[in-house]
């Protein structure tokens, strides 16, 4: 069996809040001098298969970035173990580095005195990419993100979004086997974010052994891109599965929404039909919106027949799929936009 691209076992990372420095002449221990620890990752066990586009979904301070920093050999775990391409992130850091790369949304890396092309060339060179190959990849990537006309602009003259696009390019120019994208579309306009998502899919499809770990707090992005995803909050993994399976977990019964022409009371008997779990109606000035929850999905035929027989006119009908937002709320207890806790180091 193929070894996983990424594996973590009970991975834990705690940050120690810095204590005030005490000198020999400080007689008494100042108040609040106790060592305080913050658990950013708590016993995280995950497995990402080779060729998979795996997502980490969670609010700010959930531990997503901490996990990525450990996997990219930038941070040591406090406990537990992690392997990237079968190599230990602590003991084999130097063997891991040639095959990975990382892009963080909102990063400000690069040298303002250099232009976009020069900055990308510099970061390709430290991976040993030959100049001719680097230039070819730079041209391609700048085209992908729409920065071709800015290739010779100094990065100190770029907008934040343009700089972010440049950093996105940086991650791909070294052609890594495993790529970590930490909030890559954060703050980008809709068109650019869409182009980036399309490229990510294309890039993954190009070579089957490429693996990508993507963190995001955009539900739609995770849903669109990820083969599987883990929902993480307060350093713990709450669920891990395909987006479809995760959604299935929160929806016990299939739900249909029917829009009826106003005035009809044809929906009255629907809830009593066999195979129907419940039915609720909301009247609007122009329609009656009927939401039917079914114990047995084929019962929708009987529902439609009953409505038509009772003189109802069905304007529209659709099956309601739960969203990742529903899954997230179910697991975390709040949505991503109404986080209950303040951001913590991640």
């Amino acid at each position: 069996m193929e070894s996983p691209a990424i594996r973590t076992e009970a991975l834990t990372r705690t940050y120690r809040k810095s204590r005030k420095r005490r000198w020999w002449w400080s007689r008494s221990k100042p108040e609040g001098d106790e060592t305080r620890e913050f658990v950013a990752l708590d016993q995280v066990s995950l497995e990402v298969r080779q060729g998979e586009l795996f997502g980490l979904l969670g609010p700010n301070g959930a531990g997503k970035t901490t996990l990525i920093k450990i996997l990219t050999t930038l941070l040591a775990p406090s406990a537990g173990t992690a392997w990237v391409d079968g190599l230990d992130v602590v003991a084999d850091a130097e063997k891991i580095r040639p095959i990975i790369n990382m892009v963080s949304g909102g990063e400000s890396s690069g040298y303002g005195i250099l232009n976009v092309r020069e900055n990308l060339w510099l970061f390709a060179r430290i991976y040993g990419v030959p100049t001719a190959v680097a230039q070819e990849r730079i041209d391609k990537m700048l085209g992908v993100v729409g920065l071709t006309d800015k290739a010779t602009s100094r990065i100190s003259h770029l907008s934040t979004g343009q700089r972010q696009k440049m950093n996105f390019c940086r991650g791909f120019i070294t052609d890594p086997k495993i790529l970590f994208l930490d909030e890559p579309t954060l703050g980008l306009d809709v068109t650019s974010a869409r182009a980036i998502r399309a490229f990510v899919k294309e890039w993954m499809a190009e070579k089957p052994d490429r693996t990508m770990l993507l963190t995001t707090h955009y539900m739609a992005e995770a849903d669109e891109l990820c083969d599987r995803l883990a929902i993480i909050d307060k350093g713990k993994v709450l669920a891990c599965d395909t987006p479809a399976n995760l959604k299935r977990q929160v929806q016990k019964y299939p739900i249909y929404e029917l829009s009826l022409a106003p005035g009809a009371s044809s929906w009255d008997g629907v809830s009593k039909l066999p195979g129907v779990h419940s039915a609720t109606a909301t009247t609007t000035p122009t329609t009656v919106e009927l939401k039917v929850s079914l114990l047995d999905e084929p019962a929708i035929g009987a529902v439609v027949q009953s409505l038509v027989m009772a003189g109802g006119r069905i304007l529209t009908m659709k099956k309601v799929e739960p969203t990742l937002e529903d899954v997230f709320i179910e697991l975390v207890g709040h949505g991503l936009s109404d986080e209950a806790t303040a951001p913590q180091p991640a």
């Binding site: 940050y15 970035t65 920093k69 990219t72 050999t73 930038l74 941070l75 040591a76 130097e94 580095r97 040639p98 990975i100 790369n101 990382m102 963080s104 909102g106 990063e107 400000s108 890396s109 690069g110 040298y111 005195i113 250099l114 020069e118 060339w121 510099l122 970061f123 060179r125 430290i126 991976y127 040993g128 940086r170 180091p345 991640a346």
Partner: protein, 269 residues
């Protein structure tokens, strides 16, 4: 993947590049880095003239001003650089890459040396022409060798500082301040170091600038110094090797500690 030797040089080339680019693209450096130091030299030069001092003493301060630019570059351009790189988000990209950090530091050192040599040359030429400094070297080869060994020792020390400052973080700024002015005094930037008490001069010899300037002054102006030139150059060569090896070892140790303590990245990134 390229061999580690090839990758080392590619990384050196990459990290040297921004510093060389700065030289050609930054317009204000000529005024800041040349005219202002020459003004400082002028004050001492006129003071020496007023005292009817030997003309080579003016040469001492011109050389001192030129060599001081290297010391400042070692402190700010090498010592504090990794700290800046961390704040700008570049450090994590360097650490995460397969390139060794010694290659990144070597690139920084070569870039820094190149730009500073141009600055130092401008100061020297301006000083020599303005104050009619009598240059009469006993050996140009020995002068070049002395200069080269001094730079090797200075930038070896800079590489060592870079790794230490990374771990100390903000406290490193205080250390830089402590190392700036006292070193001007101890290394004899504006006077012959041999006039310092012997014990102080010996202590100051651990600073590459002290022996480097003393050796070059002896060769340039055919004067006597703290020790024989060949002794000073040997000590400098030894210091260069020791500093480089200590920096290499220190970098490995400090990178490991920085990974454990989460100091390779700033937390908000």
């Amino acid at each position: 993947m390229p061999s580690s030797f090839k990758l080392f040089f590619q990384a050196v080339q990459a990290r040297t590049y921004p510093r060389i680019a700065w030289l050609f693209r930054s317009n204000s450096w000529m005024i800041q880095e040349t005219v202002l130091p020459v003004l400082a030299v002028s004050a001492f030069a006129f003071a020496y003239r007023a005292m009817n001092a030997r003309p080579e003493l003016t040469g001492y301060i011109v050389l001192g001003a030129a060599m001081t630019t290297f010391w400042l570059n070692v402190l700010w351009g090498m010592g504090a650089q990794l700290y800046w790189e961390r704040d700008s988000g570049n450090l994590e990209l360097y650490v995460m890459s397969p390139a060794p950090m010694t290659a990144i530091l070597t690139g920084m050192a070569i870039g820094g040396m190149t730009t500073t040599i141009i600055r130092a040359t401008a100061i020297t030429v301006a000083g020599v022409l303005l104050f009619d400094v009598p240059i009469n070297p006993s050996s140009w080869w020995l002068l070049v060798l002395g200069f080269g060994v001094t730079l090797a020792a200075l930038y070896g020390l800079g590489m060592l500082f870079a790794s230490l400052f990374l771990l100390w973080g903000r406290e490193a700024w205080h250390l830089i301040s402590v190392l700036q002015e006292p070193v001007y005094l101890l290394s004899g930037t504006n006077f012959p170091v041999s006039i310092l008490p012997r014990a102080v001069a010996l202590f100051a010899s651990a600073i590459p600038l002290t022996l480097g300037m003393d050796a070059m002054r002896q060769v340039l102006f055919r004067t006597t110094g703290l020790f024989e030139v060949w002794i000073e150059l040997s000590v400098l060569g030894g210091l260069a090797v020791v500093f480089f090896l200590a920096a290499r070892r220190g970098l490995r140790y400090l990178e490991r500690r920085a990974r454990e303590e989460g100091k390779l990245t700033v937390r908000w990134q």
